[in-house]
Amino acid sequence: MPQMSMIEAIRDAMDVKMTEDPNVLTFGEDVGFFGGVFRCTAGLQEKHGLHRCFDTPISEGGIVGIAIGMAANGLRPVAEIQFADYIYPGYDQIASEAARLRYRSNGDFIAPLTIRTPVGGGIFGGPTHSQSPEALFTHISGLKTIIPSNPYDAKGLLIAAIESDDPVLFLEPKRLYNGPFDGDHESPSVSWKGHELGEVPSGRYTVELGKARQVTEGSDITIIAYGTMVWVAEAVAKNMGISADILDLRSLMPLDIDAIEASVKKTGRCVILHEATRTSGFGAELMALVHERCFYHLEAPIQRVTGWDTPYPHAQEWAYFPGQKRVTAAVREVLEAA
């Protein structure tokens, strides 16, 4: 099976779909000739033509706006927003338009577009290259929000996103682009080469939107995570030597609530992880759902481990990032609670 980094897997997903479906095209800032600042579209213009992979003006609202018009007109646009931190000028077009077009026209028009954008910290990007704004999108009915944690899922989910008749926000944890990251920034970086999840089939395959991945099976505790935090969770469980059910959500909306419910009912203990700001983060929703469904099975209060209620600082990046230490402490507390 071909070995791919997450960047390559994402590129391959677009390549497969562009090859198979003339209605698929991709565009965004620096996406064309240059191939994207993270190289996710490298080579696509040369292979598929100038009109199928091209640069746009620096205008996130405009990018989403044309994608909606194209999608309503039968195309399957994949728009790149260079960093999720810059998605806000396009927020109105996403929340008021892409997500609402089907509803307000009662299905007369639809907007099957995909918006790809890198999220998360870990590259010293400071307040404007590190954000994880997923919760601002999970509150928007009509929109799907996806976040892969590895090359295999990234390709399969992105193909499923492009094929979905709903608008999809596809968040790419930039810290995972070139390899898994367990939150320990002091140890040498690892690459996807040789990693099991870096084995990516060629051609078309999909990973269903709305199904979580069971990372490890265990009985002591459920750890719910997505994106970069999946790897931190795995490292913590391993280092602590505990038997944890780790769920990689992959899809925040639609959510695999069945998997979550089953796991917490089994373990009775739950920790929720995300990198985003704590207050009103997606962890709050997860906690609410677990509380509502598993209250009588809980043996300890759920805990969430998150970024702080501050912008993502530059120099204090690792003090902000919810690394193994913070996660371990929470897991320990939850395990030890009566």
Binding site: S59, G69, G74, D92, S105, D108, P254
Partner: protein, 415 residues
């Protein structure tokens, strides 16, 4: 002109020339009669249209004659159709307004005074061209033969509403008539239309997109996105600014600032720019044909400013006498669009007062009968209604489990 109101600081805030109590006098707005600008080739360099952004293209004089280079080649039949469409649009607006006042609808928006813009424009497009209208181009639907019953059902949110009550009155969606779902959010559809047009070019199709904004909403970022992207990708589309002088209570100078016209906004982007007497249906037809030809042939987008006047309130929630003189609409120097086309047809010998009165009656009757049928299908709060559970539909193509559970919760709530 009225004297500017007191302002104790150096911050300049523009004000309309007249406020309630003033006697409006628009003699400072020159009404060009013969000197309508010349008609360049539709594939001309955009520079050649820079002057057109500051002038006013007209075809009909007030006496019903036509003059200048823009006279479109239209049969009397088509002109009569346009007149009738405008009259029908007005008749429907009037009825619906009255019905809203009787509590049958939550809301309504008329297009009184602006019927030439929608009807003249639609008449010059092909059926395969997608329009992206605001809430004041119902004339497009009338011109394209949409079912008035369906339109009324939408306004009433009744059991026949094609949108099943999901949206407020007037925010129609008629894909089958090339009429894009109207957004309640101003401006957003401008850039979507550009995307639609880019898709047409991408598919090597001949169709184009035509999008509308009020002059007020040109201040949204989407207007800039639309002009910019249309320019960069030479998108085959028309960007229409309907300058009806008023946003809600703000006069056009708030959006315009020190600019001279809304068409001129397009000049800096290298787009073709035309400014037209929006009360002159033939001129609207003429500029639309020009822009559509340019777009279809690969010449890119045109910004058209339709200079007109919003004769009535912004919506049923508005009372314009609070912010402009009561007789402002009457003294507005460009006349009424229905009367102007009527006078022209009469001058041509293709229409007369009797026919006009007869069609006025016919339109009224048709509207009344159609409304009756619509009301029989219910209103937003009486008669047959949309099933409440439809509110859970069309959120997604495939509803997520959490949403399906909420549907169950609602079932339990109803007991």
């Amino acid at each position: 002109m009225a004297k500017p109101r007191s302002n104790q600081s150096r911050l300049h805030v523009p004000e309309p020339p007249f406020r309630p109590g003033d006697s409006p006098d628009y003699s400072h707005i020159s009404v060009p009669t013969m000197h309508t600008p010349h008609r360049p080739d539709p594939m001309c360099d955009d520079h050649e249209t820079a002057e057109h952004a500051l002038k006013l293209i007209r075809v009909m004089r007030f006496n019903g004659d036509t003059a200048g280079e823009w006279i479109p080649n239209l049969t009397p039949d088509i002109k009569r159709k346009m007149l009738k469409d405008m009259m029908l649009t007005r008749a429907m607006d009037e009825r619906m307004f009255a019905m809203q006042r009787q509590g049958k609808m939550s809301f309504y928006m008329k297009s009184a005074g602006e019927e030439a813009v929608s009807v003249g424009h639609a008449q010059a497009l092909l059926d395969t061209d997608m329009t992206f209208p605001t809430y004041r181009q119902q004339g497009i639907l009338i011109n394209r033969g949409a079912s008035m019953l369906e339109m009324m059902n939408q306004c009433l949110s009744n059991s026949g509403d094609p949108l099943q009550g999901k949206n407020i009155p007037v925010l129609y969606s008629f894909k089958k008539h090339g009429f894009f779902s109207i957004s309640g959010n101003l401006g957003t559809q401008l850039i979507q239309a550009v995307g639609w047009a880019m898709a047409e070019a991408y598919k090597n199709s001949d169709s184009i997109a035509s999008t509308f904004t009020g002059e007020g909403a040109t201040a949204e970022g989407d207007f800039h996105y639309a002009l910019n992207f249309a320019s960069t990708y030479r998108a085959p589309c028309i960007i229409n600014v309907v300058n009806n002088q008023w946003a809600i209570s703000s006069f056009q100078g708030i959006a315009m600032g020190e600019g001279e016209s809304f068409a001129a906004r397009g000049t800096g982007y290298g787009l073709a720019t035309l400014r037209v007497d929006g009360n002159d249906a033939l001129a609207v037809y003429a500029v639309t044909s020009w822009a559509a030809e340019r777009a279809r042939k690969g010449g890119g987008a045109t910004v058209i400013e339709h200079f007109t006047y919003r004769k009535e309130g912004h919506s049923t929630s508005d009372d314009p006498s609070k912010y402009r003189p009561k007789n402002d609409a009457e003294v507005w120097p460009f006349g009424d669009p229905v009367k102007r086309l009527k006078d022209h047809l009469i001058k041509l010998g293709e229409w007369d007062e009797d026919q006009h009165t007869a069609y006025e009656k016919e339109a009224k009757l048709f509207v009344r009968e159609t409304y009756k049928q619509a009301e029989a299908l219910g209103t937003v709060d009486s008669g047959p209604q949309v099933d409440d559970f439809t509110m859970f539909e069309q959120v997604y193509a495939d509803p997520p489990k959490l949403l399906l559970e909420q549907k169950e919760m609602f079932k339990r709530e109803l007991g």
